[in-house]
Structure formats: structure tokens, C-alpha cells
Amino acid sequence: MASVQIADVRKAYGSTQVIHGVDIDIDDGEFVILVGPSGCGKSTLLRMIAGLENISGGEIRIGPKVVNDVPPKERDIAMVFQNYALYPHMTVADNMAFSMKLRKAPKAEIEERVTRAAQILGLANLLERYPRQLSGGQRQRVAMGRAIVRDPQVFLFDEPLSNLDAKLRVQMRTEIKELHQRLKTTTVYVTHDQIEAMTMADKIVVMHDGIVEQMGAPLDLYDNPNNLFVAGFIGSPAMNMLKGKITAAGFEAVNPKGGASLVWPIGKAPAGSEGREAVYGVRPEHVRLDPNGIKAEVVVIEPTGSETQVVVRCGGQELTCVFRERITAQPGESIGISPDTSVTHLFDAASGKRL
């Protein structure tokens, strides 16, 4: 096991720079998830840690050692690929034993480790099968088994669950997390799915256009997003965002339809921010039903049983709300809502930074 330090790492293809100086410190045993929309550079960064891409600038350390010019085979890492990348001409057992055979480990040791990994992952009776005879979830487990047998310093996962169906994905999510708790190996995991990131990570790194937007514990990112991008990316359904101006009375939202503008309550505006152009953010789950609150027209109701997702229109804008209560109102009718002012957010309109 080892820590991983990424210091001012850059990546350029010719004159196009895709990663612009990224700094990430990953502690020994930590489960870090790189998350972001496609094209944000998260997979490239992972491949740079693995040694599959050259590093154009900066430094990557695994443990105490700078690995910039170390080939993948000497980095002592294991990687699980999106499409599993199992060797089609080898049995499950041979797939898992491949790295140890290359290292010329004694036969007994190979067998012992493969058997143990197979037991952990429930593959014990599939060892003699070939990858083509396995289901998607089983292949995924073999890919993980191959990584476990290697007993590496660092596990790397490149969107490992995106080829699985929704139900299996939830199940494998739990399995990977359990596995990490059991083995305590430093893990870097790439996904574009923010729910995967929220549920599994010790630390989330939100990336966008080749830079780190914010990095921190899942709930910290949820509670205190640094900027509009993170605010919109973390949380589902996404945070409601209204453009407008901070006034003495609260937040005066622009009415895009040209009618009267609504004033939203804010907890306490940061000092000296009055009159500033800003964006007001409130998460759907932080809007309450309140007969005395802002009048809003119901547009769509989506009950899921445990909660009800409602799209409402007020002040010319549409908002998504999630209520624990069941809603009796029909589309077209009016309900009263009010945001929980202790958890509303304000961002600067120009820079997108949190105020």
C-alpha cells in the first residue's frame, strides 16, 4: 500500500492541453474518486497514474518514488478496465494468475492467492471457465480478482461499472466498497456517475475541462460546493439555480418572462454583497411545503413512493422540489413553498465562485 501524490500534472497532445496542472494528494488506504463529465480529463489522469500515458509536466509519486518515467509494469499497480480486458484465451484462473506467473512466483503461492481471491469474489466454481462463458457481472469480478491477486500498491478503476445494468451496478458498488474496507488498498476510481462517487468515495475530486474544480469528502462537496459547476454536478436531482441580484430584502430573481420578479429569502448575505449580480442555488430536497410561502404552480408530479418530485413554476422560472410528504395538488393548481434558508447557496454571477 502506498500514498499517491499528483503535483501540478499536465497533459498535452501536441499544442492542445487537456490537463492543466492538477494537484491531488491521496493518502495511504484512501478511496478517491475522480468524477466529471466526459472529456474532463479524469480517465487521462488515471492512465497517467497507470503509466499508459506520458506525463507532459508535473510529477506523480507512488509511495516515495517519482514514477514519471517508470513503465507500468514496474509501478506495482493493478487496473480494472471499463470493458474488463480479460485475456480471452485464458481461463478465469489463468487470467487471475497471469501477473504472478510473469513474476515467476512459486506455483503453490499462485494457487493459494487465486483461490483466496476467488473465494472473496464468489468465483470459486468458475475458475476453469473462459471469459466468453461468463456474464457481465462475473467478468467484472474476474477483472477485480486479477487486481486483487496482484496485491498492488494501488488499485485503479476506470469506469468499471458503466457496462453493467442498473441493478448489478448498485450491487457491485457495494461489493467494491466492501472489498476496499477489507483490503484497505489505496484506490483511485474514475466515474462520470456522481451517485457512484457520493456513495463510495472517501474523497471526491470533481474535474472539469482538465482542472480540479473541488476536492473533498462527499458530504462536504454536497453541503459546500465551491462553485456553480460542482453545485450543479453533485446531487440528484440537480440543484435549482436562479439568476438575479442580492438586495436588502433577500434575493431578487430575474423573471425571464418579464413579469414581476420574486424575492427569495436568504439566510445571511455575505457582508458587502448587496446589489451584486448573483446566482441563487437551492437543492430540490431543501424546498419545503409552506402554505404561507411563495405561491407556485404545479407543473409535473412524479411520485416515487418514498418521496414526491414536483416541478413547479413561480416567478417565470421552473424549479424542481422533492417532498417527503405526498402531494394532493394536481398539475395547474397552486401550492406554497419556501426554501430552507440555512442551506441555500449564493454564487457570484460572473465567476461562478461561492459567495
Binding site: 478496465f81 480471452p88 497471469f98 501477473s99 510473469l102
Partner: protein, 278 residues
């Protein structure tokens, strides 16, 4: 699409035309086979006699016992095997690099291999002959083998690149992360997976070299004369030894036919490999 055709329509539009084409293509072979087992008396008979009055293998016997044909067969075997070995030794590494590395001039090189095949062989043979003479390679095995490589190597590279491309790069990367060197990756992961493609290519090169006439005629002499050239010598100025000629033709066609049966399915598979997601 499901297509319901009536039996008669099917017969007229598909089966009869196909049978005609097949008959047209196979008739010379059948005629050759029949001629090779006819007694000499039947050959000169007029009007033409289609079926032999009795079957005989005397032409085969004459061919093998009284002519240099067995040696020519051996020559052909050596040349074709040599072309396969030289072809694979160069085109397997070349195809791997074309498939896996992105380097300057990659596209140009690939295209130029294709362009070579566009020139008529007749155009190529004269400079090649001059070159071989200067190098003293006329009438040597290596000379004819190199001659055949001029078309077999470009073809093999194109074939093999598509086979290599069908193997996901992730597998190479997984192997390298598992601790394999580049060469171990090739030997333990890539080559076993591309082996069907290599076998197919090898057989194809063998067949082409075995059947080749023009290069063989220009570059070989007494010592390394292959069967295709030897056969032609049975056509004299005044007489044609039909019996021996057709017996030789039959013997030459035999290994090719057998090998082709092995590869035909794979060959089509290789040309369309990667066209659809499997």
C-alpha cells in the same frame, strides 16, 4: 429481411445462374482431370471423345519417373515455404507496429503498400530482373522468394493489420500493468489471439506463391525451376504432351485446393473483421 420466394422463381433467378457460373468455372478443371487419365489413343481421337474409354495413370507415372517434375515440385514447395517464412517474419512485426503505434509516416507507408499492388506486375518484373541480375540472385531460391515477397508482404501486412486491430488495445495495456514487457505482451497475449489470422495469411501467401508464374519464369532457371514454369515446357513447338501436361496440372492444383478449403471461411472473416460489433 425475410424473403419469401416461390420455388420456380428461386430456381430461375438464383440456382440456375449460379450453376451456370459454376459449370463455366469448373469445366476446365474437369476437362483437365479427365484428360489426365485418358490413354494416349483417346487423346488424338477425332471427333473429340469426352469420357475416357478406360482409365489409366500412365501419364502420372511418366511424369514422376521420366521427367524432372518431382524436383520441380520440391522447388515449388521450398519457394512457397520460403515466401511464407520471409513474409511472416517481416509482416507480423510490421502489422503490430501499424496497429499499435502512431508514428510519423504511418499512413503514407500503409498507403504505399497498397499502391504497390496497383502497378501491373509486368511493369515491376523488368527492373526487378535487372536488380536480381546485378545482385547475382537469378536462378536462386532466395531470388524467387524475394520476387514473390514483393506482393506477398504488402498483402500480408494489410491482412494482419485488420486482425491486430480486432484485438482491443486494453488487452495490451492490461498485460503491461500485470507486469509484462512489450515483447511478453506480444508473445503471451497478442500473438495467441491473432494466430488464426496469421495461419490464414500464411496459407494465402503459400497458395499465391505456389501458383505464381511470371516472377518464377523470369527469375528462375534450371536450378530452381518451380512446377508452374516446368509445366509450360511440356508445350513444345510442334507437339503438346496433353497427357503429361494435364497430369501435372492436376497434381499442382491438389494442395492449393485442399489449403483453400481450410482458409476460405476465415479469409472472408478476416476481410470483414471489425466491420460489425460482435
Amino acid at each position: 429481411m425475410i424473403w419469401h420466394r416461390s420455388f420456380t422463381r428461386n430456381l430461375i433467378q438464383v440456382e440456375i445462374p449460379v450453376l451456370l457460373v459454376l459449370a463455366f468455372a469448373l469445366a476446365p478443371f474437369l476437362w483437365m482431370l479427365l484428360t489426365s487419365i485418358k490413354p494416349n489413343a483417346d487423346l488424338s481421337q477425332f471427333p473429340l471423345r469426352y469420357l475416357p474409354s478406360s482409365t489409366t495413370f500412365e501419364h502420372y507415372r511418366t511424369l514422376i519417373q521420366r521427367t524432372s517434375f518431382p524436383i520441380n515440385l520440391l522447388n515449388s514447395l521450398l519457394i512457397a515455404s520460403g515466401a511464407v517464412l520471409l513474409g511472416l517474419a517481416t509482416s507480423v512485426p510490421a502489422a503490430y507496429s501499424f496497429s499499435r503505434f502512431r508514428f510519423r509516416g504511418r499512413r503514407t507507408l500503409m498507403t504505399s503498400f497498397l499502391v504497390i499492388n496497383m502497378f501491373p506486375i509486368v511493369l515491376l518484373i523488368i527492373p526487378l530482373f535487372v536488380l536480381m541480375r546485378a545482385l547475382g540472385l537469378i536462378d536462386t531460391f532466395i531470388g524467387v522468394i524475394i520476387g514473390h515477397s514483393t506482393f506477398s508482404i504488402p498483402f500480408s501486412i494489410w491482412m494482419l493489420v485488420s486482425y491486430f486491430n480486432a484485438i482491443p488495445r486494453d488487452l495490451d495495456e492490461a498485460a503491461m500493468i500485470d507486469g509484462a514487457s512489450r515483447l511478453q505482451t506480444i508473445r503471451l497475449v497478442v500473438l495467441p489471439l491473432v494466430m488464426p489470422g496469421i495461419v490464414t495469411t500464411a496459407i494465402y501467401v503459400f497458395i499465391t506463391s505456389w501458383n505464381e508464374y511470371l516472377f518464377a519464369m523470369m527469375l528462375s532457371g534450371e536450378t530452381v525451376r518451380p512446377v508452374t514454369v516446368a509445366l509450360q515446357l511440356f508445350i513444345g513447338e510442334f507437339t503438346v504432351q496433353w497427357g503429361i501436361l494435364t497430369a501435372g496440372g492436376t497434381i499442382i492444383a491438389l494442395p492449393v485446393t485442399i489449403l483453400f478449403l481450410f482458409v476460405q471461411k476465415r479469409l472472408v472473416g478476416g476481410l470483414t473483421a471489425g466491420a460489425v460489433k460482435s
